[in-house]
């Protein structure tokens, strides 16, 4: 079979959250803009799988904020509190430094990163066939940027919905 020439794809901002539960088994997903379609790529260590969405078929892109950022902060607070208690109750200064270095500081770093990385969100794409979850739309800022880029491509093909 003759190999077709490679299609030029442009990656959209956003990545699958690595801290989503069970994410070790969940494939890493990314979105790519093609000349006439959106490509959803799912990567596992041994395989790459694709789903194509023609720009002319996309009806809606939906992005909504989720409370996952808050839940993540609560989860990160647990080792910080545990580490703080261990530091408070341990008498050895060496042990105190160990708990600060191993538990408190890294997780305070995670909490800071969690807030710097903008609120969490979920993204969906609707076609006549159904609703497709877009795992790479996980943080609001990059996802909103990606939605703008994608919407521009779709509107280039479909035109703009007339205002009501």
């Amino acid at each position: 079979m003759e190999t077709p020439p490679p299609v030029p794809y442009r990656k959209l901002p956003g990545r699958t959250p690595t801290l989503r539960f069970g994410s070790v088994a969940v494939p890493q997903s990314s979105l790519w803009l093609g000349p006439d379609h959106l490509l959803k790529v799912e990567d596992t260590p041994t395989q790459q799988s694709y789903k194509r969405f023609e720009y002319r078929d996309i009806q809606e892109i939906f992005l909504q904020r989720t409370p996952r950022q808050l839940y993540l902060t609560i989860w990160f607070m647990v080792p910080v509190l545990l580490g703080s208690l261990l530091v408070y109750f341990s008498s050895e200064p060496g042990l105190q430094y160990f708990f600060i270095g191993a538990l408190v500081l890294p997780f305070i770093g995670f909490i800071a990163w969690n807030y710097i990385a903008s609120p969490t969100c979920d993204g969906y794409l609707r076609t006549a066939v159904g609703l497709e979850f877009l795992p790479s739309f996980s943080r609001w800022r990059p996802s909103a940027r990606a939605v703008d880029l994608l919407a521009a491509e779709i509107e280039r093909v479909q035109g703009v919905v007339a205002p009501t």
């Binding site: 990314s30 990567d43 992005l63 035109g159 205002p163």
Partner: protein, 201 residues
């Protein structure tokens, strides 16, 4: 026009039917019921009705060709893959080519139609894992005697063939695998020749 026929959409969190004036919402808008902020970009395809399928035209005379799958229907086109004549009901247009349902099914199963090729093996990653993962355990270090040549084989096997992947088509992983596998082979060669040298010289 398009906007007039837009259906009401529901909030994906609480299921509240959002009125059409919420669409398209380019700026973040809160849902009136659950207050969750959302952006909904709606496109003209949302208002477009699906095009109805065409039933094949009934064959009226003997001088006309009939559809291979529906002998009573008039053939309108020949399948680009197998050449069978098919009616407008059986005519499936894929990438600008007219294909019959049987060839479509074969193309989907055997992935002979490029559009249906939706899974590819990541040989560069498999090679890299073969080269790197055994090094993390003591037992694995001995396994590198076999995994390093295997990783090297994958690199040479897949180096010249064009990447089947649609994205991430670079050779960085192959190069990384090559360096690690060659280093492992060099270490093994040094150990083996070193011990042989001690025995015979």
């Amino acid at each position: 026009m398009a906007a007039n026929t837009l259906r009401a959409r529901e909030c994906l969190r609480c299921g509240f039917a959002l009125p059409t004036e919420f669409f398209p919402s380019v700026v973040p808008t809160p849902c009136p019921k659950c207050d969750i902020v959302f952006i909904a970009r709606v496109f003209p395809a949302a208002a477009r009705a699906l095009a109805p399928g065409t039933a094949g035209e009934t064959l009226l005379g003997d001088d006309l060709s009939s559809c291979f799958f529906h002998p009573t229907k008039k053939a309108t086109v020949a399948c680009a893959q197998c050449g069978r004549l098919v009616c407008s009901l059986c005519d499936l247009e894929i990438d600008g080519r007219h294909i019959c349902p049987a060839c479509l099914e074969t193309g989907r199963k055997e992935e002979t139609i490029a559009l249906f090729k939706n899974k590819v093996k990541r040989w560069d990653n498999i090679g890299l894992m073969l080269a790197v993962l055994p090094s993390f355990t003591i037992v694995g270090l001995y396994l590198t005697l076999f995994t390093a040549p295997a990783a090297l084989f994958i690199v040479f096997w897949k180096w010249r063939s064009p990447s089947e992947r649609l994205v991430h088509r670079g050779k960085a992983r192959h190069i990384f695998t090559l360096v690690i596998a060659l280093a492992q082979i060099a270490v093994w060669a040094a150990i083996l020749f070193g011990s042989l040298g001690r025995r015979f010289f």
